[in-house]
């Protein structure tokens, strides 16, 4: 695995955090109350912090990137390799919690392996992030249970969100050629191995939340190859607005 490929691998992990953080950032000031606004902002800040560590490393590995911001802001849509799940919009609070819950469970499993990466930088980033993500998972699982086992209305809305987001879960475990190279080099995580643990964990919490495990076997994918949903273009239009309108400036 050459350093450009390694940079690609690092970036593909962090793209998920950038895009999810961006979605959470839209919410700040518009949540159900101040306490949840503050909590979700903390999660967004954790994700952006992790993004920066990964991107700084990616920029170090690949001369094509001048800085972390070049990685974050100056790629074309098809060059972002985040999964489709994280780019889904904040349709309502159930979607915010559902998306977070479905991602956190994966994220924690990923980091639990990544902390043993043969790449010392990646291992260090993972070790730091793991504590943050453990808390994210606790937060989103608790809220999933509150909304699932709350009122009739909230159960319906939470189930609606889980049903809608479910089709994006399988992509989390898709192995791209870069993923495979990283595994072969001893620095990456074998995603296939995480899949059974993931669905086991998810179904336990869903059951506790009195929600029904969706039965669909039709999954959507493409994000990891750079083929995104229609939402992504708008998200990037916001994200890249300043860098595209005023190129080559310091901020």
């Amino acid at each position: 695995m050459d350093s450009k490929q390694r940079s690609n691998y690092v970036t593909s992990i962090a793209d998920n955090h950038l895009i999810l953080g961006q979605r959470l950032g839209e919410l700040c000031g518009h949540g159900p109350n101040l306490e949840t606004d503050i909590a979700l902002t903390n999660i967004a800040l954790d994700l952006f912090g992790q993004t920066r560590s990964y991107y700084q490393y990616a920029a170090q590995l690949d001369d094509a990137f001048a800085s972390e911001d070049a990685v974050a802001f100056l790629r074309k849509e098809h060059e972002y390799h985040n999964v489709l799940l994280v780019e889904q919009p904040n349709t309502h609070f159930g979607f915010v919690i559902g998306r977070q819950f479905l991602f956190d469970a994966y994220h924690l499993l990923l980091l639990e392996q990544l902390q043993y990466s043969a790449d010392a930088t990646l291992a260090a980033i993972a070790q730091k992030a793991i504590k943050e993500v453990r808390y994210h998972q606790r937060f989103s699982s608790d809220w999933l249970k509150r909304l699932g086992d709350g009122t009739e209305k909230s159960r319906k809305k939470m189930q609606e969100a889980i049903d809608a987001l479910w089709r994006y879960t399988d992509e989390l475990f898709e192995m791209t050629p870069i993923d495979q190279l990283a595994v072969d080099a001893g620095i990456g995580v074998d995603l296939h191995a995480l899949r059974p643990m993931y669905y086991q964990k998810i179904s336990e919490v869903l059951e506790e939340a009195t929600l029904v495990l969706p039965e669909t076997n039709y999954f959507q994918k493409g994000g990891k190859q750079g083929r995104h949903t229609e939402h992504m273009g708008y998200l990037l239009a916001d994200l890249q607005y300043m860098q595209r309108t005023y190129p080559n400036m310091d901020w």
Binding site: E35, I38, A39, N42, R138, D142
Partner: protein, 94 residues
Amino acid sequence: MKKEWPLWEVFVRSKNGLEHRHFGSLHAADAEMALENARDVYTRRNEGVSIWVVESKYITASNPSENGEMFEPAKNKVYRHPTFYKLPDEVKHM
């Protein structure tokens, strides 16, 4: 059923060796949420190592209009303080 989240009081130990101190209050539906909210609201600048939360309604407070009988009688018990006892200067370390 009351719809709005009750008020909780938050106590934070800023480091081991110190007592928990009242930091403020917040709203939460249950104890677990109160702890999580307290963590996010009151320790986001690394202010604590331990948090207590208690629903505000469980705190019994003394009434300031009774401060006379509550606290003033303690003012004239000077014999509870070391300076009440006169010792010659030669006696050290006491």
